[in-house]
């Protein structure tokens, strides 16, 4: 019993760090634009596909479809840069033109972009699953009956490093300070001389790069990818952002880990016949959050002083 628990915690940390990485993109974009970027899950998918094609193009994978750590790192960098550019393009051509209209317009635009990427992906990449290269040194460690896969360790270590890097950018750099100013009060940020369009584009680039990193990390672990992998993962990551308090960066990370652990716990403890309900856990949590703590765990409304 305890072993199941520990095992599922470990699995949950790996899964949760993926949700956290993606949730950060949702929460940052919401922070600066008050927009739920429903296309964000699809940017994660594109990241995985960029990695897949980069592996072929660069000849990184061996004939049997295996790659080294260095190769995986190159794929991740490539995917992050490509997705960052895609995020900037989406913001520039889909969201910026409708920014002055009511928020519902942007929301519907986001759904449109999402459909475009999913269906465009099926046209470009084909609807059949593709198989991502796997790490040739992928091993597992066994402690008693608890098994830790090396890929899980890599997922957690890389994700946490990226989160620390992001936190450093947001808290310690001038760009980060500008991001926080934009998310707090757009007009006041403009009055400081901040080029807010640039900051918003930069925010999309950061969030999209993190989503791409998540796409590569997941694919290294579960190599079957298709143009719709971003749908469910994206929605769960969105729930993670809402659970943590959308707009709050620490909240997104916390929410990601909580959703990941809740899901693996459900997978570990639900009877076999109900096992497929693990995907519903995130949405059950969403309903509870909306009922009892709509601002999320760390979300707060700053008091207005007169």
């Amino acid at each position: 019993m305890l072993q199941t628990f520990i095992q599922q915690i470990i699995n949950g940390l790996a899964l949760g760090s993926i949700y956290a990485l993606i949730a950060l993109g949702y929460t940052m974009v919401y922070g600066v634009l008050r927009l739920i970027n429903f296309a964000h899950g699809d940017v994660y998918m594109i990241g995985a596909f960029v990695g897949y094609y980069a592996a072929q193009k660069f000849g990184i994978a061996s004939a049997s479809g295996q790659i080294s750590f260095g190769g995986a790192l190159i794929l991740m960098m490539t995917a992050m840069m490509a997705s960052a550019s895609l995020g900037v393009v989406i913001e520039r051509f889909a969201y910026r033109p409708v920014r002055k209209y009511p928020r519902l317009t942007s929301l519907i635009t986001a759904i449109g972009v999402s459909l475009l990427l999913e269906n465009g992906g099926q046209v470009l990449f084909g609807a059949d699953p593709k198989f991502f290269p796997i790490l040739n040194s992928a091993v597992t460690y066994t402690f008693g009956s608890v098994t830790v896969r090396l890929t899980d360790i890599i997922i957690v270590v890389v994700s946490v490093s990226l989160m620390v890097l992001l936190q450093t950018i947001v808290l310690k750099t001038k760009l980060g300070k500008a991001m926080r100013a934009v998310s707090y009060n757009l007009d006041a940020a403009k009055l400081m001389g901040i080029n807010t369009d640039f900051i918003i584009a930069f925010t999309f680039a950061l969030g999209s790069a993190l989503a791409a990193a998540a796409g590569i990390l997941v694919s290294l672990s579960f190599p079957k990818i298709d143009p719709l992998i971003g749908v469910l993962t994206g929605l769960k990551a969105f729930v993670a952002a809402v659970l943590g308090g959308i707009g709050n960066i620490t909240g997104a990370v916390l929410g990601g880990f909580l959703i990941g652990i809740a899901e693996t716990m459900a997978a570990g403890y639900l009877p076999q016949s109900l096992n497929s309900y693990k995907d519903a856990v995130a949405f059950a949590i969403l309903i509870l959050v909306l009922l009892f703590k709509p601002a999320g765990l760390m979300g707060s409304v700053a008091p207005e002083k007169v």
Partner: protein
């Protein structure tokens, strides 16, 4: 040549015309005030000067150059800085971070340091609160931070939108004394106020705005004596 000249400026929000062709001039070194009731178009005027709003017709001339509709970060580069209505401070950041954001376009660290000292000189209270999160400050202190933050960008033209709104009389006095001192230090000021009494006492010239049009203008001392003003804005 006037530092700032608004020519027949019209601004609308959708179908609603907020400014119906106003013309205003501000000479370098002056304190000019715009008085008027709620909804007269005072804030709209300031927001159009800074580029937050785009005029429908008419021009914003700054040192003779047409700057209508240029992005706000470029008007800041020209030395046009605003302390907005409701202060617009970043309540989640510290007072120091707020002030540093005011100097966002300033690359020279020495100048930032000197400007901070200047802000402390005008507002000693801000220095006492420097490490605090701005949202925890009192309304008057927040107003000082908002004005200090605008000063950090080295304004040549400082736009102040309702700096005394909702503040205790003693704090209002401090704010207006600071306005005098900032002007003496070299900044030209365009002041929007509902507190017409104080605004007329601390300015050289005034424009009276009513539902989007200028209805009266002249030296503040004269306007303060004008019976129409006394009745409409000074509560007599």
């Amino acid at each position: 040549m006037a530092l700032l000249k608004l020519e027949n400026l019209t601004v609308s929000y959708g179908a609603i015309e907020a400014l119906k062709g106003i013309s205003i001039e501000v000479e370098a070194g002056e304190v000019v005030t715009l008085v008027g009731a709620n909804g007269a178009g005072k804030s709209t005027t300031l927001r159009t000067i800074t580029g937050l709003l785009k005029p429908k017709t008419g021009k914003v001339l700054y040192e003779g150059k047409d700057i209508s509709g240029i992005p706000t970060h470029h008007t800041v580069d020209l030395g046009i800085c605003m302390s907005p209505e409701g202060r617009g401070i970043f309540a989640n950041l510290t007072v120091l971070e707020n002030l540093e954001l005011g100097a966002f376009r300033q690359k020279d660290k020495q100048k930032i340091k000197a400007d901070l000292e200047k802000v402390f000189h005008f507002f000693p209270r801000v220095k006492e609160r420097i490490k605090q999160v701005a949202g925890t400050l009192s309304g008057g202190e927040q107003q000082m931070v908002a004005m200090g933050r605008a000063l950090m960008a080295r304004p040549r033209l400082l736009l102040l939108d309702e700096p005394s709104l909702g503040l205790a009389p003693l704090v209002v006095k401090t704010i207006f004394e600071a306005i005098d001192a900032i002007n003496k230090d070299g900044a030209t000021i365009l002041l929007v106020e509902q507190n017409a009494n104080a605004a007329l006492n601390h300015s050289n010239r005034a424009y009276v705005l009513e539902t989007g049009s200028i209805v009266l203008s002249g030296p503040s001392k004269e306007l303060a004596q004008d019976p129409r003003i006394r009745e409409a804005y000074l509560g007599e």
